[in-house]
């Protein structure tokens, strides 16, 4: 056995990349779980094609999974990776630009044969493994296919089945490199393939083979340790942002989709606004318009949530900032919908939905109460029931079918205030329009104030973000502060209504920059509402912000 040296690192970014059929998402998820159990803080970024079976070996078919983990607080999946696992030439070609100079490449040589080169449009004489173009990197070439086939020669499996185990070899090797515990993945394989012992054993064998390869070859001089992060004590789990019509009958109605689906639901959202019933609408935003780029992130549905319906149709709009915030804010969305009898938009995005982070989850006893009141039954002599009589929140009674004496009719036609009868009265329509707006505005009395996330309470520049850009903006702000800039970061989670103090907070900074993954939406609302000369900073590529590009942009504005 060769002696390897252990090196201690504060944080590492690894990108697993291969063909869609190479199982990179599973590899990444397993590595993530092992890393979470090891006690590191982490953030992940899966980036995969929308096609379930994208064309084999091509650039379009490349599937990637990036994980950033460390002993310090981790806010983003990392701008650039330290290690790139490339299962084929297409994966290398697509991802090499985001590998740090001097970074490690683990390349599966079998994925660089003539056929793969042709599929990835790489000229025959330009094999990157041999033409010297990767000289600035630490290149490790391994014929993963050959080793896997050899290891499973007498497994009784077909070549196709054997080749599907390749990702386990890589996973085992990377586990070895970073001293990760393997139990979790061993158990996962055992339970996933419990009905097919041959496949189970094959996966276990190849996973161990990967580990042993690191241990026995002289390819790697170093192994790395990344100590557990100092996190708030408590019980944690991993959380992804995506784990997180019956309102008339007395149930909370929840519907979820992305932009195109929300467009289809628009008329029903208008109806719920008119009926003043509790409804939560979840929109996991992706690049649009129309079908756009499924699986790619964007923040371009804010205007749709705010205004994308016919008529004056205000609804409450909340936007989560991270996978774990999805829980907090989804709970808040339900609470507001039920307590204010109002539709609430809950915005997430592809980046949050697919990303993962450790989450110190609450127990239900610690969650605030949600107060729900149903209107009580009435007897013959009682005053007639008034379905649009309001309380101090301006919300109307929830009168569910089956309750004696509460028979009433509601619908999409304009209502007379208090009685709820159909009304075409001019003054009443204006009154009702104002009431529906005021009802949304009043929610501001029940939400928490806007806080500064990073930096001082005043200064030269405020970075004001919303949604899934949280981590990148936070990291960028910390870098800028370290370099002496008077910059702060605030992240809005309540967009309609805004927290009451937001206007004052904006005034305390000389400049306000609003980075968004769209063509400028929150910035328009802020300018309209607070008359601030907020500066838009937009990226519309279906990809999240990198911290370093935010840093560069802010410097450009300030210098």
């Amino acid at each position: 056995m060769t002696a390897t040296t252990d090196k201690e690192l504060a944080s590492v970014v690894i990108r697993f990349a291969g063909d869609s059929g190479d199982g990179m998402q599973l590899t990444g998820t397993q590595f993530t779980n092992a890393t979470a159990l090891h006690g590191n803080d982490l953030a992940t970024f899966p980036d995969f094609p929308a096609e379930i079976r994208a064309p084999l070996g091509t650039l379009a078919g490349v599937s990637g999974f990036q994980i950033h983990f460390g002993s310090t607080k981790i806010n983003t999946p990392g701008d650039q990776s330290d290690v790139l696992v490339a299962m084929n030439v297409a994966a290398l070609k697509v991802n090499i630009k985001s590998l740090k100079k001097g970074g490690v490449i683990i390349a599966n040589t079998d994925g660089f044969d003539a056929k793969n080169m042709r599929l990835a449009n790489v000229p025959e004489d330009k094999n990157p493994l041999t033409d010297g173009s990767l000289s600035e990197y630490d290149l490790k070439t391994i014929d993963v296919t050959k080793i896997t086939r050899a290891a499973l020669a007498d497994s009784g499996l077909t070549t196709k089945e054997i080749d599907r185990c390749k990702n386990m070899f890589v996973l085992g090797l990377v586990y070895w490199m970073y001293h990760r515990p393997m139990e979790n993945t061993l158990n996962f394989i055992k339970s996933k393939f419990s009905k097919n012992e041959a496949v189970m054993n094959a996966n276990l064998k190849v996973l161990n083979a990967g580990w042993n390869y690191g241990e026995t070859t002289e390819m790697f001089a170093n192994r790395y340790t990344v100590a557990a992060a100092k996190m708030e004590p408590g019980v944690y789990r991993g959380i992804m942002g995506n784990q997180a019509a019956a309102a008339f009958g007395g149930h909370l109605a929840i519907t979820g989709s992305s932009g195109p689906g929300i467009a289809l639901k628009g008329e029903a959202i208008g109806l719920a606004t008119m009926l003043e019933l509790p409804l939560v609408i979840v929109n996991v935003q992706r690049a649009g318009p129309s079908t756009g780029m499924p699986t790619k992130t964007e923040q371009a549905d804010l205007m749709q949530a705010m205004f994308g319906r016919n008529g004056e149709c205000p609804v409450v709009v909340l936007a989560a900032q991270s996978p774990s915030d999805c829980f907090t804010l989804a709970f808040e969305a339900c609470k507001i919908a039920l307590e204010h009898m109002i539709p609430v938009f809950f915005l997430s995005d592809g980046y949050i939905a697919n990303g993962a982070e450790p989450w110190k989850f609450p127990n239900t006893a610690s969650l605030p109460d949600i107060q729900v009141h149903f209107a009580a039954a009435r007897e013959a002599g009682d005053e007639p029931f008034m379905p649009y009589l309001r309380d101090e929140k301006l919300s109307r009674p929830w009168a569910v079918p089956g309750t004696k004496g509460l028979e009433h009719r509601i619908g999409g036609l304009e209502k007379q205030n208090i009685t709820g009868n159909i009304s075409y009265d001019a003054a009443n329509h204006e009154l009702m329009t104002q009431i529906r707006q005021e009802k949304v505005d009043k929610v501001a009395d029940f939400i928490s104030d806007q806080t500064i996330d990073t930096g001082e309470e005043s200064g030269d520049l405020l970075i004001l973000g919303w949604g899934g850009t949280y981590g990148a903006l936070k990291t960028a702000t910390s870098i800028l502060i370290e370099e002496g800039y008077k910059v702060s970061h605030a992240h809005v989670r309540y967009i309609n209504p805004f927290p009451k103090n937001l206007g004052d907070l904006l005034k305390r900074f000389k400049k306000v920059v609003v980075p968004e993954l769209n063509n400028g939406q929150l910035v328009k609302i802020l300018r309209d509402k607070y008359f601030v000369d907020a500066i838009p900073y937009n990226k519309i590529q279906g990809q999240p912000f990198m911290s370093n590009e935010v840093v560069a942009k802010i410097k450009q504005i300030l210098d």
């Binding site: 779980n33 006690g39 944690y236 789990r237 784990q243 009958g249 989850f361 239900t364 028979e407 619908g411």
Partner: protein, 341 residues
């Protein structure tokens, strides 16, 4: 189902809202018949919910002293399914028009029928868009001249009964606004059926499509042009009850009862889907020579198919039995957790 102590009357089911259909509209009769039937069902008012889409017909819930929702064009079916699934103890009725059910709501219409929640769907078919002032609808006859088809419609119309049978509906009936007794009987049968009950009601829009069903509803031609189906009875029609339908293999033929015995006639069997399908195709233009009379009554009943609300709630009950009642804390914690000290 709770029994009420005092017996309700039709008036108890009339809301205080002014009815705003055109004078002479067939919708009035349907409102009256529903209000007449409901008191006989022995249920308190608060257990009834009427959900409608958009159209003249869909204004119906406003006039009923029950719970009601005037919802979205073509989507009452979806809202009613949600309500019935979560509140199966309620008596849920859907009110719709030919446009509402078969243009914009065509998709929801067929999915409601195949899912079979225990709701009643009354389609007021006037073969026109009434509320929007007289455009052709998916049941308008080919060649129809309307505001949107000034040179005559080129569309082939839907046959709502055949469409419903094709969507595996479990109760399919047709009635007409001008026959109160028959209408009441069909509404009652619809209520009694467990599963989705589709009742197509021929309704005269005297403003935009007056007389569309005249040959079936006018006394002078009704007996000759309609076939009133009754379970277990031979299919007889004609001015003097002198004609009948016989089955020659799968081919229906009209016979003259002066030459043929009643005992040779096709005896109506509501439970026979094949025969119901043949009857649904009696959809000829009454102006055609040798046309079949238009059938009214119950075409088909299948009382064996489970309802959506039953299956939906049984599955929840089964899940609870199998996995225990929901434990929110367990759900939040997920499968894997770790402790940070």
């Amino acid at each position: 189902m709770t029994a009420t102590t005092e017996k309700l009357t039709a008036k108890d089911f009339a809301s205080n809202q002014e009815v705003r259909w055109c004078p002479g509209c067939g919708d009035y009769s349907i409102l009256k018949q529903v209000q007449t039937v409901l008191p006989d069902l022995g249920r308190p008012k608060e257990e009834f919910v009427f959900i409608s889409g958009i159209g003249c017909s869909s204004r119906f819930p406003y006039y009923m002293e029950t719970f009601g929702m005037h919802s979205i064009h073509g989507r009452a079916t979806a809202i009613a399914t949600g309500l019935k699934a979560t509140r199966p103890e309620l008596s849920v009725w859907i009110i719709s028009g030919d446009g509402d059910s078969m243009s914009i709501g065509g998709n929801h219409f067929i999915h409601l029928l195949r899912r079979n929640p225990d709701v009643n769907l009354l389609v007021f078919n006037n073969q026109i868009y009434g509320l929007t002032k007289g455009q052709y609808s998916p049941t308008s006859e080919q060649g129809k001249i309307t505001k949107s088809t000034p040179m005559g419609s080129v569309d082939h119309p839907f046959n709502p009964i055949a469409l419903s049978l094709g969507a595996d509906a479990t109760f399919v009936a047709r009635t007409m606004d001008r026959d109160p007794k028959h209408q009441q009987a069909m509404i009652r049968r619809a209520y009694d059926h467990k599963g989705t009950s589709l009742v197509e009601i021929y309704q005269n829009c005297n403003v935009f499509n007056d007389g569309a069903f005249e040959v079936f509803t006018e006394k002078s031609s009704k007996k000759e042009e309609t076939l009133m189906m009754e379970h277990g009875k031979p299919l007889v029609f004609g001015e003097n009850a002198d004609k009948g339908i016989k089955l020659d293999g799968f081919k229906p033929v009209i016979v003259d009862l002066n030459d043929s015995a009643v005992s040779d006639l096709w005896v109506h069997d509501e439970t026979d889907l094949v025969k119901a399908t043949i009857l649904s195709r009696f959809y000829d233009d009454p102006a055609d020579e040798n046309h079949f009379p238009r059938p009214f009554g119950v075409f088909y009943v299948n009382s064996k198919k489970a309802t959506f609300d039953e299956l939906f709630n049984a599955q929840i009950a089964y899940a609870k039995e199998k996995m225990g009642p929901g434990d929110l804390d367990k759900l939040i914690a997920g499968k894997e957790t770790w402790l940070v000290n």
